[in-house]
Symmetry: C2
Subunit: 463 residues, 2 copies
């Protein structure tokens, strides 16, 4: 229908699809994103319910298949069943395809949304050109999508090039090593957190090269496409970066270092996690945990054996998440930056938030507040529901809800214990945390318009 | 020193004091508030450490005395010891005097702050005159303080007039009834939550008139002085109210009704709380719990026997708190209103937050965000510290931290189990939640000034 409304010159399936995507994204970007992802989840749920997708040959149940499909497409990594044991090779291939398409889908849809939002705002020049995405190079949605796909596949190929030889050596079998290497490369860059060793990553956790490769993959994926593009174009010339890249890299680095330090401090003597590792492995595992808490979802230790204090710190980092237009979830590091800058401006008595010689518009602060308020409300409601369903006190339901909302995939073990009603709640949260937040923020930004008249100011007393 | 800088005509101890207060409040309102309260806490700590303050005749320990003095002056109501058993009549009189002075202190200091803030902002006309406090009547700080004291004492006297006869009947002794009636009248209006029955309010919970009188006292105290003043002047002519009073009453009513409904729904069949009460008492107790969760701190049931879900809802309501310039704590209902209005404006695509034909300035949104961020950070740090100290998981440390920060006084039982280090943390949180938030918000508002030049806009991508 949209194709009728916006006929494309040229034809050809690819151009048609791109034109159609461009059409609906331009018309209602938020709705388009929601529909595309719901459709993808339905398709992968159906595939996972085929008998040959499971290792037992019995069809997976609807809640199981729907949950895993949602988890894969939203690149979360939570799963009620053990990915290595429950699914056949075919099932695992379905999952990694869902992850790859989900990850690329998020990056492309979010890129298109960001571009279409900026067009509707009349600040296309600002966001797309001045702020790093050159109009002359990426003006067309099709080129934008092509660049996203090229960067993603290039990074995944580089990760696989390191992982495959290591895993061939570890597994002692060429085909298994190849398959595992490719799986982990895709799972890492897409921040998916799915593992196909039945004992999780503990089995390869002793190999620093594998651990660091996965960690670097997760880190790059969590930075987000606009930052990767800036890095690709400007390398380490920090001054040439746009405000988005500067803020993203700064907050990401701060959270990563602080998270690793706090994790090491809290778990140093916990023998159920890193307590009996040698010093270098304690530090490496702490950094790995910190990087993955903000969305990767891989773990070399069992999360529910961490201290309660560590789980609370994880809650905060999982909620924070990664960069915008990335495979990471959460409220995003730029949202945190905007709120922190607003706070700083207030504390210093400045009228406007300023960072790196740029004024952050006050409308941006309101979008940030709205995103946090929506996220906190969804997590609170889900936590309450899971507490009712499970009869547990808040610690594990909260952890699992934030992990789902932030599409992190770390688990307190609750997901594998929940009845279908609980799985549906978490699946809804993964969906909302993945597509909801992006389209919500885009919808808010795109709909900003001037009011016709202005009321006199009314200043309620706060605090 | 300040008196030298701003010599007062007239003289007389009262005028001198008022002039001095006016002077330092005008110069640095935030610091003045902090100093006054720290001084008051030091005095009452010393008094409570006198041997004749305890029923045993042995001096209370420093952490105990400091904690109870802070709790009384900040009108919180948390206590590591049973007020009825641990303290002598003299000790209880010290406590109720601390509550009365603390409550009046908060109301007067916050009123003066609000007035001085509006003067420094150059919007004195707006806040003090247009928005309800007529300059011609309350222009002078001295009259402002007088009105605060008159309204407070008048309401307390009305509450005592109902409570004293009831408690004489219940206790069967005129002097005891008189003392208890006056104590509960002061404790209720000041949202202090201290009780002098060793079994808490359960002993008089069967008497609806006492329960409703205390509930109404808590409710009036939590509305805050600017709203009480508007109610006194304009009664129920809602259209004549200012924006502050409208928003406060609306959010308060919403939270009260929703809180009672949720409480009733969650605890209906919990026999440890309201489960075996008759229907009318279940509803009355739910309303009582809802009103007191937002700061009163009285309870007719034992909080730590509530469901975990109820405790989580309580966490949210305790954090929210009551009205500004009131004896209630928390981030304040107008802060919630401002954030909700910002969210609504975003969702509707309006450029500005509007309520009741008034534009909420965007600087107000930033103050609100800063207050929430500061509160959330303090609660998180305190929760982590208490989890480390107690070895518990997050539920009870979080509950106790929010109760202290929101100066609510409801307890999960943790306060009476903590070692001195934990008591100092909670005492610091009560102090910060009481004076910190008020002076923080005032300091933020007062320091707002224009920047000399404006950077170009930089719009990071969110969500
Ligand atoms: K993930
Ligand atoms: K209280």
């Amino acid at each position: 229908m949209k194709r009728d409304a916006q006929p494309q010159a040229g034809g050809g399936l690819r151009t048609d699809f791109v034109g159609w995507l461009k059409g609906i994204a331009g018309a209602s970007p938020a709705r388009a994103a929601l529909l595309i992802f719901a459709f993808a989840i339905a398709v992968f749920t159906s595939l996972l319910m085929l008998p040959w997708a499971t290792s037992s040959g019995r069809s997976a149940s609807l809640p199981e298949a729907l949950f895993v499909a949602t988890s894969a497409v939203s690149v979360t990594g939570l799963t009620p069943v053990n990915t290595a044991d429950h699914w056949s090779l075919a099932g695992q291939i379905i999952i990694i395809v869902a992850i790859q398409l989900g990850g690329l889908g998020i990056l492309t849809v979010a890129s298109v949304l960001a571009a279409s939002v900026s067009r509707s705002l009349g600040v296309r020049t600002k966001l797309v050109a001045q702020e790093g995405w050159k109009t002359d190079q990426l003006g067309e949605v099709a080129s934008l999508i092509r660049i996203v796909i090229i960067i993603s596949l290039a990074i995944e190929a580089a990760l696989a090039a390191v992982l495959v030889p290591r895993l061939i050596a570890i597994e002692g079998d060429v085909l298994t090593g190849l398959w595992h290497g490719v799986f982990y490369a895709i799972s890492a860059f897409n921040n998916a957190g799915f593992v196909i060793h039945s004992d999780g990553l503990a089995g390869i956790g002793y190999d620093p090269i594998s651990v660091w490769t996965i960690m670097i993959g997760v880190f790059l994926g969590s930075l987000g496409f606009p930052v990767l593009y800036v890095l690709w174009r400007f390398r380490w010339h920090f001054r040439s970066w746009n405000i988005h890249a500067k803020l993203t890299v700064e907050v990401t680095t701060l959270l990563m270092v602080a998270g690793a330090a706090i994790y090491a401090f809290m778990e140093w003597n916990n023998n159920a996690t890193i307590g009996d590792m040698p010093m270098w492995e304690k530090l490496q595992s702490s950094l790995f945990a910190s990087v993955n808490m903000r969305s990767g979802g891989f773990s070399v230790v069992t999360s529910n054996e961490e201290n309660s204090t560590t789980m609370l710190i994880s809650d905060a980092l999982m909620f924070a998440g990664g960069g915008s237009v990335s495979t990471a979830g959460g409220i995003k590091v730029t949202t945190i930056a905007v709120i922190w800058l607003a706070f700083l401006a207030e504390a210093r008595g400045h009228k406007e938030s300023v960072a790196h010689a740029r004024t952050i518009p006050s409308s941006t602060v309101r979008v940030a507040v709205s995103v946090v308020a929506m996220g906190a409300t969804m997590v609170l409601l889900s936590t309450l529901a899971l507490m009712s369903i499970s009869g547990l006190d808040m610690e594990r339901p909260l952890y699992e809800s934030i992990s789902a909302f932030g599409t992190v995939g770390l688990t307190s073990g609750l997901t594998s214990e929940l009845p279908p009603s609980g799985l549906y709640i978490l699946a809804a949260l993964m969906f909302a945390g993945r597509v909801g937040i992006i389209s919500f923020a885009a919808a808010l930004t795109v709909r900003q318009r001037s009011t016709r008249y202005r009321y006199p100011e009314g200043r309620p007393i706060l605090g």
